[in-house]
């Protein structure tokens, strides 16, 4: 088991390294850097001025070297500014070369500086993650119990009317992406023109104070899309368990149907949904980006859109690292959890 986990963690680190390099490469392509230079010193500058600005600010080195510096495994670049003062990746203002650290990458906790928000990247990400964490907590609190209940009710009597109605409902929710359900919800429940005006169409006020009125719509929008998928997986798993030999034995013994479902079937039927719920995280991230944009909730997804839309390279890199990390860790948990929960799989 230990070897299995170690192998998984190694693969995960390798994947993380590859992915962060891809993101680094794509965000640091020539046209992006040119845009940065122009936004720093003015739009109407010549190509030669762009070149020299890039060279002075350490952008002229090979991509791999700069990736190493950003990661914190290579020493940061040093140079001289136009007036002769020493500059460098790790050199703050009014600091000499000797005082500055040699390494300053994300491994050292130096995530860079956001050009859009004029604040350190780590600060912005911490703040937005806290906001998104609240959103995700409520989404999970609504989605997981709801989906499991739907799936177990549908799967315990496969082919029954209840199963058909619930399955159709689950299919409908999986066919409704967040930007459709969000738009419909706002129009029905929050519109000033025709709607019921039960809830708020914007979740901006929820950033300070979460209430039922301002947080219901964003949470429901994300939860609904994921719910159908998890419910279908639970249903399939439950239906499979219900055809197993030991269930038949229990029925023949005369165990009550309710006890069969709750005591014998449920525990075995929940192994597959566990992995599915864990693997839902990349999709939930999608939903978070859409919903936070739609409801104007300034969390992690909203930050991603702002960083990408405004060519804020360091912030975008930070956001990518966090999201890739979340995805990979949940995959790891799902792999290990599956092996741990399923008594039929033994790794020696």
């Amino acid at each position: 088991m230990l070897r299995f986990i170690a192998g998984r963690i190694l693969t995960m680190l390798l994947t993380a390294l590859c992915l962060t390099f891809v993101v680094f490469f794509l965000t640091n392509l020539g046209p992006n850097l040119e845009k940065v230079a122009k936004s720093e010193i003015g739009v109407r500058i010549s190509d030669a001025e762009v070149e020299s600005w890039l060279a002075r600010n350490g952008y002229a080195q090979p991509v791999l070297v700069r990736y190493g510096e950003w990661l914190g495994v290579l020493p940061g670049w040093t140079g001289e500014a136009a007036d002769g003062t020493p500059t460098g990746r790790c050199v703050a203002q009014d600091q000499s070369l000797e005082e500055a650290d040699r390494f300053c990458g994300i491994l050292q906790g130096d995530w860079g500086y956001s050009t859009v928000f004029r604040a350190p990247v780590s600060e912005i990400i911490a703040r937005s993650l806290a906001l998104t964490g609240k959103l995700m907590f409520w989404v999970m609190a609504v989605m997981v119990p709801g989906a499991l209940l739907l799936g177990v009710l549908a799967g315990m009597r496969e082919g029954s009317r209840l199963d058909r109605s619930l399955s159709t409902f689950a299919i409908t929710t999986t066919a409704t992406p967040e930007y459709v359900s969000g738009v419909v919800f706002i129009a029905v429940f929050a519109s000033t023109a025709v709607g019921l005006r039960w809830f708020n169409g914007s979740a901006t006020s929820a950033m300070e104070d979460i209430t039922f009125v301002n947080f219901t719509l964003p949470v429901m929008t994300i939860a609904l899309y994921g719910m159908g998928y998890i419910a279908r997986m639970t249903r399939a798993s439950m239906a499979e368990v219900m055809t197993a030999q030991y269930i038949r034995t229990a029925r023949l013994k005369g165990v009550r149907f309710r006890d069969i479902v709750l005591r014998h079937a449920l525990r075995n039927a929940l192994i597959a949904p566990f992995t599915v719920i864990m693997l839902q995280f990349p999709w939930l991230l999608n939903g978070v980006v859409i919903v936070e944009t739609l409801f104007n909730y300034k969390g992690f997804g909203w930050t991603l859109v702002q960083a990408a839309g405004n060519n804020d390279i360091e912030l975008l890199l930070g956001v990518s690292v966090v999201s890739v990390f979340v995805v990979l860790v949940t995959q790891l948990i799902s792999d290990i959890g599956y092996v741990y929960l399923n008594p039929r799989i033994r790794i020696s």
Binding site: C18, N32, K35, R161, L162, S165, I171, Y179, V180, V319
Partner: protein
């Protein structure tokens, strides 16, 4: 011209009927669900030794549900038929829209009548008409396919030009008459105007053409990429499998939106990375076709080379014309030889959607092939001395068709959602493009005041994706009965 009401004079008769049938259907469904929680009806022995079972509450609820559904369908049909037959304006917006869709209704009726009549001879497709869910899904999908077809081929159905702005029509409500209508223009904005004074109804129809064209094609390409890589990964295993699986997992671990934001920005397009990705990804369909035909005709000396040459020539030319685009770094074909160019942004959107979908298809294909590779017929083919590619493409692939077809339907729906996501964030497609994602994005700014501009494309997208999912569900159910 007066403004149109929703149902006009039709509503006085049909609206109450509609509400009654909807209420009945909901009651019946609730009754069915409650009845299914009760114990099954008891069997009673009769004096002659036979058993008799009463249908009980459950049977009653089933019958009620069936009749309520039929009643609802009849009312909806009445709206469409009456709307199409009554003079313009007297049947309201519903009638006018129903009339605009008349070619689609006729085609749908023809396809359904023919398919149901010949369903016993049509294999899996014919058996689809045994399941209500599958039929509803097929109907929804076909509706949008015909809409897209008639709009692109003949310019039917849409009432205005999807891009033209008429003065005074900004954010107007559905059914508003066109102020100062130019000569020969349609007199109303049937589903209202958007915030740039364009006709929402026509934009929805024009958007269907983009979605219905790109989504299935992109899915098909993703399938060819995924299958061409997934089958050998499973069949040969070993190092090849490890490398390919690692790469697939790499792409899958990428949050989709981040990938889109990295791939579809103007700066990245300028460097030509999407064009180079297109060059790589579009090779796979050619490879797939060539290997497919070559492995089949390998032993037939007379046919092998001509078939291969023709295939490579035709697909190669298509490939070069597709990849070479003026205005991008990949532009090498002379305009006279270049067969077609794909308008702004669509190629990039296409490539990124194929790229996102292929790893999942790879996983599915690999999983299916791992299972099929242990079958006896594969061992028999190996003993016969067949080549690996023949076994993969002509022995294993046809036996994986059931799950692959079902997944294909689901995946078109998912691709439609991805296209909508791209449009929703304003990525790739030009901002005036009528595709549904972009229109939802346009409309959402005024959502709480003028919801119609965003709701119409949102519901259109929902109905298409729902149709595809229901169709996949019906196909799965019917193919399991084999």
């Amino acid at each position: 011209m007066d403004a149109l009401t929703w149902t006009g004079s039709l509503g006085t008769v049909l609206n109450p009927l509609l509400w009654v049938s909807v209420a009945l259907l909901l009651l019946a469904v609730a009754g069915q669900v409650l009845a299914s929680l009760l114990p099954a009806p008891q069997m009673r022995p009769r004096p002659d030794g036979t058993l008799v079972a009463t249908t009980g509450l459950r049977g009653l609820a089933d019958t009620a549900g069936r009749f309520a559904l039929l009643a609802l369908l009849a009312v909806l049909l009445a709206y469409i038929v009456a709307g199409a037959l009554m003079p313009y304006g007297s049947a309201g917006i519903v009638g006018a829209v129903a009339r605009r869709f008349a070619p689609v209704w006729i085609s749908l009726a023809l396809v359904f009548a023919l398919s149901i009549h010949f369903r016993r001879r049509l294999g899996l497709f014919g058996r689809l008409f045994d399941s209500t869910i599958g039929m509803i899904g097929f109907g929804l999908v076909l509706f949008w396919v015909f809409t897209a077809l008639y709009f692109t081929a003949f310019g039917w159905i849409a009432t205005h030009d999807p891009l033209s702005q008429l003065s005074g029509m900004k954010n107007v409500l559905p059914g508003e008459p066109v102020a100062m209508a130019p000569e020969g223009a349609w007199p109303h904005y049937l589903l209202g105007g958007d915030n740039l004074a364009r006709d929402v109804f026509s934009r929805m129809v024009a958007g269907s053409a983009i979605v219905v064209l790109i989504a299935p094609l992109a899915t098909l390409f993703a399938f060819m990429v995924g299958i061409t890589l997934g089958l050998p990964a499973a069949y040969f295993g070993g190092r090849l499998d490890q490398i390919l699986s690692f790469l697939a997992n790499l792409v899958l671990a990428f949050p989709v939106i981040l990938l889109f934001y990295l791939l579809v920005t103007p700066e990245i397009v300028q460097t030509g990375i999407p064009s180079f990705m297109a060059m790589v990804l579009f090779v796979f369909p050619i490879l797939f076709l060539a290997v497919l035909l070559d492995s089949r005709y390998r032993t037939d000396r007379r046919k092998r080379w001509p078939i291969l040459a023709v295939t490579l020539a035709v697909t190669g030319w298509l490939y070069l014309s597709l990849v070479s685009q003026p205005g991008t770094p990949v532009n090498f074909l002379h305009p006279d030889v270049d067969l077609f160019n794909i308008p702004g942004g669509i190629l990039i959107v296409f490539v990124s959607v194929v790229f996102v979908n292929s790893p999942t298809v790879f996983r599915i294909g690999r999983g299916l092939a791992l299972d099929l590779a242990t079958r006896d017929y594969v061992a028999a083919a190996q003993t016969r001395g067949e080549r690996p590619w023949y076994i993969m493409l002509w022995e294993m692939l046809p036996n994986a068709r059931g799950p692959l077809i079902v997944d294909f339907c689901l995946r078109i729906g998912y691709t439609t959602i991805l296209l909508g996501t791209l449009g929703f964030f304003g990525l790739g497609l030009p901002p005036e493009s009528p595709d549904w994602g972009t229109t939802i994005n346009d409309g959402r700014r005024f959502l709480s005041i003028y919801p119609h501009a965003a709701i119409v494309p949102a519901l259109a997208l929902l109905s298409l994706v729902l149709g595809l999912n229901l169709l996949a569900d019906g196909l799965r159910e019917e193919s399991l009965k084999d």
